[in-house]
Amino acid sequence: MPFHNLQELRHSASLATKVFIQRDYSDGTICKFLTKFPAELDSRIERSLFEETVKTLNCYYAEAEKIGSQSYLEGCLACATAYIIFLCMETRYEKILKKISMYIQEQNEKIYAPRGLLLTDPIERGMRVIEISIFEDSGSTSSSSTGSSPSSATAQ
């Protein structure tokens, strides 16, 4: 598929559908996403790439929510200062969220946009889902059974 970068994707493609990767609650309330490969992506991306992305994201979230010495230190320090420190300092979780955001951007640029897909950062959807938007090239007829608008004349 001929999308070379994210800009092109946004301006010349039409949204066909969105796929939602749901949360995996089998380990409790920690943030983790299902690695089950959705059928709609079958023709668009290799299964291994998709699973790699989701597993890496799960690792990032696990690291953010890990209860270890660093989080204890942060928690006790915060308690001792009556939690005022949360107003001044960026928490470890927020730092990792920034890393996740950059990772998703990088994945989009390198892997997903060239295949006509776009990942949305889960934090923008309340950490409930990973939203993957599937785009169709506006010039071609849509191969999937979705309602992209075929009457677009020129893309630019």
Partner: protein, 372 residues
């Protein structure tokens, strides 16, 4: 101005309606550019829950914050009387540490109270229309696209730690609630790890502000007990040396008032602290404890709670010292005027009628493909 306005009604139906696939296929017809809002609005202004926002979205409170001023007034008044009337006498007769200790406790109480009240408790944002439609697709609905029909209650089961947990579908937020999440009807939000809605604090107590709430009630217990003790000591010292208690009371009526307030509050607050200490040690929420979610089934001890680490210390640490999760509702972010991942903005000029006809046809195809 500062009050958050409610979301446009398109997101919240009075009665349940099947999600319209038209919302998924193509966006609604876009207004001409001159009707676009002149300034970008922040997300708190279109927040659909019943919360109110101050300081341009930095502070969040529930709509009914009626008792919070009373709580603050009681604490400030009693502490004020303590510092003004009891402290000078006690510093003179006992030690100068007393106002210092009282001061530290007072600061802790006020700060943790304000943080409990003004922090987002862990509100889950509502589902976007596409998400809601996707969930609808996954649930069998043999009656099709009928409106004004409430489908049967929906649940999903997951296995957590060898325990079956039922996840319920929230009709207001249009999501399957994560485990331990509950919908607060006062605030009209789903809140993660929902404990309870505290009227004294004027906010829900949930995942993000539970530690502030716990600090508040524990430090308030200490403060109340401390003031009670100091006032008693003050009156006791005054009534020594030949004076009676009545003379002492006449000399320092404020102490009597403090005694009364503290006497009635200390029982409930210390009791509440004890109860919440138990909850923290068992990694339970008030909601779960009241409903008896994990107990009373077969009389076994805590074997039912799948979230417990089965170690008091680990439970306490995870609840009170765990990492601070971020706020999911992004109050101060801007409402996107055109969503960057949706179909392209107004650059593409299409005759409106032709667009509608194609849209209808596409939607019909889509609806048939959903049903088929």
């Amino acid at each position: 101005m500062l009050d958050g306005r409610r979301a446009p009604r398109r997101m919240k139906n009075r009665e349940y309606q099947q999600i319209d696939p038209q919302a998924l296929a193509t966006p609604p017809p876009r207004p001409p550019p001159e009707h676009m809002p002149k300034r970008a609005r922040r997300k708190w202004e279109v927040f659909p829950g019943k919360n109110r926002f101050c300081c341009d979205g930095r502070i969040i409170v529930a709509r009914q914050s009626g008792v919070l001023p009373l709580t603050l007034a009681l604490i400030v008044l009693t502490s004020g009387l303590f510092f003004i009337f009891d402290c000078p006498f006690l510093v003179e007769h006992l030690t100068g540490c007393i106002p210092a200790i009282g001061g530290v406790l007072f600061v802790f109480v006020i700060i943790s109270l304000l943080q409990t009240s003004f922090t987002d408790p862990g509100i889950l944002p509502r589902a976007t229309p596409e998400e809601a439609a996707d969930i609808e697709k996954q649930i069998d609905n043999p009656t099709g696209l009928s409106s004004s029909y409430r489908p049967p209650p929906r649940t999903k089961e997951v296995v957590i730690n060898q325990q079956v947990v039922k996840l319920k579908y929230c009709f207001t937020c249009k999501i399957f609630r994560p485990p331990r999440t509950s919908h607060c009807s006062l605030c009209d939000n789903c809140v993660e790890r929902f404990d309870h809605h505290c009227p004294w604090v004027g906010n829900c107590v949930g995942k993000r502000n539970y530690r502030f709430f716990y600090t508040f009630i524990v430090s308030l217990s200490f403060l109340t007990a401390f003031i009670f003790g100091c006032a008693t000591t003050h009156l006791a010292l005054r009534s020594q040396g030949g004076n009676g208690l009545v003379v002492a009371l006449q000399a320092s009526p404020a102490s009597a008032l403090e005694l009364v307030v503290c006497f009635f509050s200390v029982w409930s607050i210390v009791g509440l602290s004890g109860f919440h200490t138990y909850l923290v040690a068992a990694n339970l929420t008030t909601n779960e404890d009241i409903k008896g979610s994990w107990s009373g089934k077969s009389g076994n001890e805590d074997v039912g709670n799948p979230y417990s680490y089965n170690s008091i210390i680990k439970n306490c640490c995870s609840v009170l010292c765990g990492p601070m999760p971020p706020s999911l509702i992004d109050r101060r972010g801007f409402v996107p005027s055109d969503d960057s991942v949706q179909t392209r903005p107004v650059e593409i000029e299409l005759p409106a009628a032709k667009n509608d006809i194609n849209m209808e046809k596409d939607c019909l195809d889509f609806a048939l493909s959903c049903a088929g």
